[in-house]
Amino acid sequence: MNLTSQDYQVLAPYILLTAWACVLLLVDLFIPKERKSVTALLAALGLAVTLGVTLSQVGIEQVGFFNMAALDGFSTFVNALLLVSGILGIALAHGYVKRMGIERGEYYTLLLFSVSGMMLMAQATDLIIVFIALELLSIPLYVLAAFARPQLSSEEAGMKYFLLGAFATGFVVYGTALVFGATGTTSLAGIVAAAASPSTSTLLLTIGAALVLVGFGFKVAAVPFHMWTPDVYQGAPTAVTAFMASGAKIAGFAALLRVFATAFPALAVDMTAVLWALAALTMIVGNVIAISQTDIKRMLAYSSIAHAGYILMAFVPYGNPAVRDVSIAAGLFYLVAYAFTNFGAWGVVIALEKKEEKGLAIADYAGLGRKHPLLAAAMTVFMLSLVGLPPTLGLVGKVYLFRAVIAGGFTGLAIIGVLTSLISAYYYLRVVVTMYMKEGEPETVRETWLSLTTALTAIVTVVFSLLPQSLFEWASTAVLKLF
């Protein structure tokens, strides 16, 4: 049993990024304190090179490492999105950490490690690898959440994220143990084969799958496993929150998707009802609680919970072969829309944030429309996109989602989705109203990379909504070969 170059080709982007991160960790030791921008640049360069390798692999389909990892359209699509998220995360963080006095080279190294974990997650076709990837993405995020030490709120955010994250890991591992006991294998393909044989204990398999679902529910912040989200998103440095909100969600959903769609199609009958309830609850609770928030970080945290609910909708029909392709493609498309909108919105928050957690109340946005019309226009685009109003990517994403869910026969869920979107219009548009209708003297910072990121994400949010077809087609081809 030997590995061939084919095996390495499967994980080439992941290996490249991990090696880059290891070397960067050492290189950073010799970069003087006042020149940490070099580390940021090197980290971004690593992500860009990896993105190049990933894009060069479009169209390649193969498995490697004894069926433990796969390279397919799905993983390429998700990895490209993750790498772009990583680059945006560094662009947002670069000025922010400097301004907040928490600039250390480890920030960028940890971010690279986290991205590499997320990428492995999208490629994993074995529960052991899923577990390792989950930890590789989570542990750096725990540290990043507490990165603003000795500021107490950041440390507490790290602590809470750590405890709840480790708790979730416990569920994933125990679930994996039971699945292993029921089927005798941890390989996703092996589980499907074993589940078909009558000697397999369905009870053990169902409990195992349910425990894995609980673990991932924590990771993607689905209600009722969302309690940590507002506190962690509020306490963590804003640039970390921006990265965490998109990256961890994309990776969590990618793993959920691959594990459930490829390993547990036999359990779809039981799981559909559970997923239905989870999605509905998440949308309702996230949007309703967001209304009463006065802090922009907490509001966006609840908004991110609500969006986890929308994305979960795409999973509900996963057992129905007629619609699952299109609904999962819709889910992927929505992840793209959410990632760009999310980074943009957090970018605006970073532009207004001042030291000691000032400038984070929604009231602080008063007068932004008059004083900084471009920034206010960008924020308006992001808020419209989060509600799902034209002309934004958020609208297109929701249209695809609702269409897929209705095609799957879950009209009730689609109605809940539309109604909660209407509720969400209230609190998103309140920000817009505050910016344009109220008087105030907001202060913002001007940083090249921050402005560029905000402008870029705003443009993507608008322009791609006008020509969504090509992106959706890419998402569809990504899903096609998954089963």
Partner: protein
């Protein structure tokens, strides 16, 4: 005979010996308590200050670094057992694995965490 009986027997005997020893001492020993006898015993010297002293945080970082490196060795045991069958390829993989650990060690070193002061 059920092999579990031996385990039970072992448990009972194991319990009886210390209970017996303490019981006999309690039965036969003289009981003349006084304040000095009842004071907290700590190596014969009276306690000075609080027991809640802060240790230098350096020690605990040492412990954490040790912990991580210590546990990583579990991967070397199966590797060492199968090394003969796997050949050169496994040797290279093992070297890469150790190099990654060394990178961690170099990092800790450069950060000054290995200074004992």
């Amino acid at each position: 005979m059920n092999p579990w009986i031996f385990v039970g027997l072992f448990f009972v005997v194991g319990l009886l010996i210390p209970v017996g020893a303490i019981g006999i001492a309690w039965l036969l020993g003289p009981k003349k308590p006084n304040p000095i006898k009842q004071s907290v015993y700590e190596c014969g010297i009276e306690t000075v200050g609080e027991s809640w002293v802060q240790f230098k945080a350096q020690y605990y970082i040492f412990a954490l670094v040790f912990l991580v490196f210590d546990v990583e060795t579990v991967f070397l045991f199966p590797w060492a057992v199968k090394l003969g069958a796997l050949g050169l390829f496994a040797v290279i993989e093992g070297i890469i694995f150790i190099l990654i650990l060394v990178a961690g060690l170099v990092y800790t070193w450069r950060k000054g965490m290995l200074e004992w002061a």
